[in-house]
Subunit: 232 residues, 2 copies
């Protein structure tokens, strides 16, 4: 009887923090940051606005929680049992983050915000820890740990954010036509720039159209790893 009473009390809680965050991520994925409104969320969850504030707090806190959830999942996916070379581990972590931002375009802006606003939060600290351990494993002298790790992390976040747009346009279009069209349009716009003012951008318009996102991302990482190797 006590059990029954407890159950009926428990059954009243139909919402959980996790459920709310999951629905928020769906809204963000579908329509970007603007699509996450408290009202859209309550409608999807068939509840009232107060329930959101009871379980997670303000909209900003919900945005933080969504970011933490997605990044934690992306980092957790990289727990290789065999211990690979540090360079491979860095590349793999970078590609995990690359993939996460490609799937969740809203992360690009949100990560910038989190790094600035919450430097001791789980997102900032989680990414630093993962990359930093590999920097240490590379044999970088301790005095350069912070600097070398920061450089890698900054590059990864910056690079990955710009590639989002390309990835986004690739989605929803059959056979990558959307992506090709988008890159073609950008390349054409670059080609049409004033020849005196923008000779360099005009010169690389072709490379920009033909480039492979992941390949170029990895070549940037390779370049930085080369620089780090010289610190040893």
């Amino acid at each position: 009887m006590t059990t029954r009473a407890r159950q009926s009390v428990r059954r009243r809680q139909v919402l959980s923090r996790e459920q709310i965050i999951a629905s928020a991520i769906e809204l963000l994925d579908d329509g970007g940051e603007g699509a996450l409104t408290v009202r859209a969320l309550t409608e999807r969850l068939a509840t009232g606005t107060g329930a959101i504030y009871y379980h997670v707090g303000t909209r900003d806190e919900l945005l933080d929680a969504a970011t933490e959830t997605v990044i934690a999942a992306a980092l957790a996916a990289r727990t290789d049992p065999a211990s690979p070379a540090p360079e491979d581990e860095i590349r793999a972590t970078a590609l995990s983050l690359f993939g996460a931002i490609a799937e969740h375009a809203w992360l690009a802006t949100q990560l910038t915000t989190q790094f600035a606003r919450r430097p001791s939060g789980p997102v900032t600290v989680g990414i630093f820890e993962r990359i930093g351990r590999q920097v240490r494993a590379l044999g970088v002298p301790q005095a350069a740990w912070f600097s070398a790790t920061s450089t890698l992390v900054h590059y990864i976040l910056g690079a990955v954010s710009q590639h989002v747009r390309f990835e986004r346009d690739a989605h929803g279009a059959p056979g990558d036509v959307g992506r090709e069209k988008f890159l073609g349009d950008v390349a054409a716009a670059w080609q049409d720039l004033d020849a005196d003012a923008y000779p360099f951008v005009r010169a690389i318009a072709g490379q920009m159209r033909e480039h492979d996102d992941r390949e170029q991302f990895l070549s940037g990482i390779a370049l930085i790893l080369d620089g780090i190797a010289r610190l040893r």
Copy 2:
């Protein structure tokens, strides 16, 4: 008489696009992106909401225009008559952008957005052109122009964005006390992390507290330039 008539007609235009953008930048500097509301702007300019839309368009377009104005000024400041070494020019451009984001913290998020949303806009193209010319001058083979330039640009934007928070806290506090306190708080939080889960972050907490933003920013650039030098 015709002059007088013309003058009276002209005098009716009391607002200009430039004026609106300048006021918008002031609001953004004072209170961040949230402080730029159409109503706050019309109040400061003693006008109606319609006037904003007549001269510049929507709030998003105003945000774009503000970003373009600040970045154009930052890039224009770097027109050295003597032609310095490419490495120096890259460092100088990077520091110009560093300074611009330090003064206008809202740029951090806004630049990410612009690069993704308007890859052929003046901001994206202007930064690429400035950095790219120096990459070319470094003797990098043409096949690597786009890749090397992208790596530098991504690092600069990523790194500069994270340092904003530190710079911001330095402002308004006498004798840099705010910045030191902020860094001390972050370092303390890093130090308090779980020893098993975050050994690396705990190990670099001290370096993080002592680090000099500009120095570290430049050492990241030096690291990438080292990597680029090996492409030659």
